[in-house]
Amino acid sequence: MRIAAQPVAASTPLADTALLAAALRRRTEALMAEAARLYAVDLSGWCVTLDLKGMAAGRVQLLMRRVRYNLAIAAQAPELFLSITVPHEVAHIVCHLRHGRRARPHGPEWRAICLALGGTGERCHGFGAEPARRLRRYVYACGCRRWSLTSIRVHRIRRGLIYHCRACGRALRPAAAEAAANEACR
């Protein structure tokens, strides 16, 4: 289920950035306290930053013990963000502490925790968001299909990394080079 964004009137106190930031931190702390009680996990020492950009509403960095929120998305619909995204992210932390890496990021274990914390148990938000950057894409090919790779992966390939197709096992090469190699084999 995707959740429709409901813009909040500018007069809403939460529309104020500083108030919104404080509300996000308070809500996260409150949910962490609740989660610590419900699941008997230690959630001390976590910090909340509001520096996330792009399409994601929130993100958890487990090693850094840090929850990051996207302030631009939060400002669109503060109340929805507080009730959907905050439990979503806190559930990731609890899920990791309870189940470790065995649990998939949005698998049934995470979903149960998210629902118990008052979230929707959905993977994606329905807030409007613009990507932080648009990556250029390049066409690569293996033996069986063509691939659209972002410039990030192409740069890795140019530095020496090799990506293999899981189906045919062949290395991915620029589509033009692949076509020329096929021609030479004939």
Binding site: T49, L50, D51, R66
Partner: protein
């Protein structure tokens, strides 16, 4: 001359003497809001909160000398820090850290710990200086040195090693 001989201006305009930090362990950082290292604010704040009761003070000095990455005024910087990273450690007014107009505190720090190339020049935002309780400049860290790593050097100084 020692580190306590200097006056600094806080981000809300109050002039204070560095003597107020006497007997504290100091981590002095030149900061910027639009830098690739800006997320280090989170680690610096975490370090400060963990050890402030045992005498650690992180001091943030905004500086616009590297890539024009701190263009805002003090009010904007303060708002950014508290909103985005919930910064509670002491922040100071914007200063220059290199050149003829460099703040005397930074002239002192640079000459005390000259860095890898031996020139003393601050290379980029989020260069850090660790100062002991007696005012000795103990260590200089590159912008790439994460606060989490610096925490290991702080522990013996605050007496929890």
């Amino acid at each position: 001359m020692d580190i306590y001989d200097f006056d600094v201006r806080t981000i809300d305009g109050r002039v204070m003497s560095m003597t107020e930090f006497r007997d504290h362990v100091l981590l002095i950082v030149n900061v910027a809001s639009r830098c690739g290292f800006t997320p280090q604010y989170a680690g610096l704040e975490a370090l400060y909160r963990r050890h402030k009761d045992r005498g650690l003070r992180v001091l943030g000095f905004p500086c616009d000398q590297f890539g024009h990455q701190e263009p805002g005024d003090e009010a904007e910087i303060r708002s950014f820090c508290s909103t985005t990273y919930d910064v509670t450690f002491p922040m100071f007014a914007k200063i220059e850290v290199n050149g003829g107009n460099a703040h005397p505190l930074y002239q002192f720090l640079r000459s005390a710990r000259k860095g890898m190339l031996g020139t003393g020049v601050i290379k980029w935002n989020f260069t850090k200086f660790l100062v002991g309780r007696d005012g000795t400049v103990l260590q200089r860290y590159a912008p790439t040195d994460m606060p989490e790593r610096i925490g290991k050097d702080v522990l013996p100084l605050i007496g929890t090693a």
